[in-house]
Symmetry: C2
Subunit: 297 residues, 2 copies
């Protein structure tokens, strides 16, 4: 099970085509075919159906491992190089939208204080991209949000250190003219029939809500893949569907927020960093966590 075999296997599975994967990886179709054959022979089982190219159950299982393994290999390399290389002249800071908005200003203040004159780049991206980028050394620090049971960690495929920065309650965002908009609190089980907006990057991902409510009844007719929270809120205000958001978000007109009472969930923010940035990251995490404590009581 060589690493590059896993890499091409992932590429083939993602592309759904040997030839497309070959083009993407710079191989010939023949080489890709041979590599997949080698992997299947090594494991003694078929991993892909052909025509169409779809993973077998065994292939699905391997896919679950392959991504994290390859990520960790990149993380290992990045980590070793960080030990050897000089400290970076600038800091690249990745954050998911719902993590960035409450924390970016404070993080910048702390970074300016601890490393005067240093150049900082903020990049807002999706959860997987931030986790991957921090592991691979492209970002020095990352802030990732998500929902979880109270005190549970986020389920990230992260390979550096993760530090909890903030836990805060959740709210359901709904149009102000929605019949439930004036409720004092709400139970997600009462909203199983509602229409949800599937906005995995700027709201609680629906799969997480399904897991938390232990049902797959939560359904959506509108998917929003962007990273701009205001756009999502405009959709909510226009009645296209509901979304679960952190309570601290300041909402524009037309959108009401009702605290989620059950199931017990929190919006959690975690700071990720590679090993070498550890001292700076520790104080940064402390500052952010302290701010989180104060703002959420």
């Amino acid at each position: 099970m060589d690493a590059h075999l896993l890499r091409t296997f992932v590429a083939v599975a993602e592309c759904g085509s040997f030839s497309a994967a070959a083009a993407e990886l710079g191989y010939t179709q023949s080489a890709v075919s041979q590599q997949i054959a080698a992997l299947e022979s090594n494991l003694g089982t078929a991993l892909l159906h052909r025509r169409p190219v779809v993973p077998t159950p065994a292939g699905e299982r391997l896919l679950e491992h392959a991504g994290p393994i390859l990520l960790r290999l990149d993380a290992a390399r990045a980590d070793v190089l960080r030990v050897v290389g000089e400290p970076p002249g600038s800091i690249v800071f990745g954050a998911t939208p719902l993590a960035a908005s409450p924390h970016v200003a404070r993080a910048l203040t702390e970074l300016r204080r601890s490393r005067p004159g240093i150049e900082v780049t903020f990049a807002v991206a999706g959860r997987e991209e931030v986790a991957r980028g921090v592991a691979a050394g492209e970002y020095h620090l990352g802030l990732v949000d998500g929902i979880a049971a109270p005190s549970d960690p986020l389920k990230l495929t992260a390979h550096g250190t993760t530090t909890a920065v903030q836990n805060e309650p959740l709210v359901v965002a709904l149009p102000t003219d929605h019949p439930l908009a004036r409720r004092r609190r709400i139970n997600l089980h009462d909203l199983l029939d509602a229409r949800w907006i599937d906005a995995p990057e700027v709201a609680a991902p629906l799969p997480d809500l399904r897991a938390a409510t232990e049902t797959d009844a939560i359904r959506s007719t509108l998917t929003y893949t962007g990273t701009d929270v205001l756009s999502l809120l405009a959709l909510v205000a226009a009645g296209h569907g509901l979304a679960v958001l952190p309570a601290s978000l300041t909402l524009p007109g037309g959108v009401a927020a009702v605290p989620v009472e059950s199931p017990r969930l929190v919006h959690r923010t975690e700071l990720l960093h590679g090993h070498v940035d550890e001292p700076a990251a520790t104080t940064l995490a402390a500052v952010l966590a302290d701010a989180g404590e104060r703002s959420t009581g």
Copy 2:
């Protein structure tokens, strides 16, 4: 960064010798030398000092990643093979000592109920061994204990699914004639000057206590590497040192238990399992967790 290069790197680092690692892996010394050279050239930095053979800082960092990567590769293979292979005719159940004693009987009852007539093997081993064995498919199920902040997960390098089974308070075990033995509760910070027994497999590991108390003052003059709890308690009764244990443990004469009030820590037990055993594991986890709830209030 090929997987087998990592494997030989780990072996060399563990053996502290190229030739010993070569013997262990079935290579010649020359091959090992070439492999390490290839890895170092690939990463562009030295990983090992020679004579004596000791990891460089970069090598230390790589070592932190290499173990989990190799484990995960084994886990991936085991997982794929489980999908393909037939369901096992017998179940191998691994557990750490402090996880086994309260749960083994109940787990056996549940396994007998869910799979009548099935043959079950219980193996008591260290934390790393159980986590590794479950990932590699040698054990079908594993119970691992450890200490953690309340609701925090254990820090294991596990690659299957982990489910919390029990959280319970901690006690300090001390001889009945110890001056603090009649206290109603105790703060670990008051015991920094005490003498501790370093028994990582049958008591709270001292490094965890140091991390929790945020000091490295906790020191030990006696190490116990076995997996028999009673032997440790005999050492405690004889005044050789203190140990932190789960509160539910029934203590023999000569040993007193004082609840730990601060820092806030719990003794946590988690069930590990590979993917394929999921249905059985889920109900087993539920049964164990239910029992834990009842026994600890």
